[in-house]
Symmetry: C2
Subunit: 162 residues, 2 copies
DNA sequence: TTATATATGGATATGTTATATCCGTATTAT
DNA sequence: ATAATACGGATATAACATATCCATATATAA
C-alpha cells in the first residue's frame, strides 16, 4: 500500500500559498514550476483541494489559487482527505459469509471485530493527522529549512508576483 | 489508497488455524475452500505468513499450516505487516529539493516536518494494531459469531480433519 | 469588443501495483 | 513408488495511479 503522491505535493503547495501576499493568487502553472511537477496532473490535485474548500480558485488573468482559510484552520488530515478521499483503507469483503460456514446475510448484524480493529487503527491515524495544522508545518519549516532555500524561495516569489 | 485484501484473508485464516487440534495442520486448499477464496493466490499469502514466522508449514500428505505460536502472541500488526510489508505508506519524493528553490542535497539533514507528521500518524496506526492480538479477535468472534455459523464451522472441521 | 490567462471537467493514454493462475521442484507421509 | 503438500518463479489479467490533452467557461485587461 502506498499513499497518493499528490499528498506530498498538496502539503507543499499549500505551504507556498500560505506565504502569498493578501489579495494575490498563484496559478497551477507557477506552482508546478516551483516544485518541478507535471503541470496538468498537479492541476487535478489543486482542483481536489478546491472542491474540498481548502483553497479558493480565481479564474482569468491574475487568477490562480489561494488559501480559503488561515493556515491554523487547515489540518494535515483535511489535506490528506481532500487528495485521497475519505474511503476507509480497510475494506471488508465479507468473506465470513462465503464458503461452507456462511449463513444468511441477516445473521450478520454489525461489522466484526476484525473490521472494527482495522477501523479503530485508521481512526488513530486520522486523529494524529488532525492534530497537526498547516500552521504547524509552516512553523517547523521556518525553523528547519536551509537559509539558502528560504532566500531562493523569496527571490522566486518576487519574480512571479507582480 | 486501499489496503491489501489479503489482510482480511490472513486474519480469517489464522483464526481458523487457532482452532486446530494439537498436532494437526490445514493445507492451503482446504483453507481456500472454507472461505471460497482463490486457492493459488491464498497460497501466496500463506507463504508470506510462513516467511514472517506466524505459521509453520508442513510439507507432504497430512501437512499444511498451523500457528507457529499461541494466539495471544500474534498481533494484528504482525499479520498486517506479514502481508503488506513494512514499507511506510507515505513515501517522500523529496520535491523540496527540486525546482528553482532547491539547494544541494547536503543541506537537508533530516526528514522534514511533513514526512515526520505522516510517519507519526502511521506509528499511531501500527500501535493500535499491535494492541490487538489474534486471541482478542477470537474472543470477539466467540461472542459475536452467529450460533448457526459456529455449528457449520464445527461440522466442516470434523469433515476435513481426520 | 477582443485577446489572453486561467480553472474545470471529461476523455484518454501510460505506467505500476494488486490480483490471480500456472508450472516445475522439493519434501514428506504412506 | 506414489500422492499430497509447500515453495518459488514466471506469467497473465485487472485495477488503480499517474500523466496528458482538449473543449469549455470565466474573468481580466487592452
Ligand atoms: S469477519 Fe469482519 S473482516 Fe471478515 S468478512 Fe466479516 S466483517 Fe469482514
Ligand atoms: S519537505 Fe518533507 S515531504 Fe517534502 S519533499 Fe522534503 S522530506 Fe519530502
Amino acid at each position: 500500500m502506498k499513499l497518493n503522491e499528490g499528498i506530498e505535493w498538496a502539503i507543499h503547495c499549500l505551504s507556498v500559498l500560505a506565504y502569498l501576499p493578501e489579495g494575490k493568487a498563484l496559478p497551477a502553472k507557477k506552482l508546478a514550476g516551483f516544485f518541478d511537477l507535471p503541470e496538468h496532473y498537479l492541476a487535478k490535485h489543486l482542483q481536489s483541494l478546491s472542491q474540498a474548500k481548502l483553497v479558493k480558485s480565481i479564474k482569468g488573468p491574475g487568477g490562480g489559487y489561494r488559501l480559503s482559510r488561515p493556515a491554523p484552520d487547515i489540518t494535515v488530515l483535511d489535506i490528506v482527505q481532500a487528495i485521497d478521499g475519505k474511503t476507509p483503507h480497510f475494506q471488508c469483503t465479507e468473506i465470513r459469509r462465503r464458503g461452507p460456514s456462511g449463513v444468511p446475510d441477516e445473521c450478520y448484524q454489525k461489522p466484526c471485530g476484525i473490521a472494527r480493529t482495522m477501523w479503530r487503527a485508521e481512526k488513530a491515524w486520522r486523529d494524529e493527522l488532525a492534530r497537526v495544522s498547516l500552521q504547524d508545518i509552516l512553523q517547523i519549516g521556518a525553523e528547519e529549512t536551509p537559509q539558502l532555500q528560504i532566500e531562493k524561495s523569496l527571490d522566486w516569489f518576487g519574480q512571479v508576483i507582480q
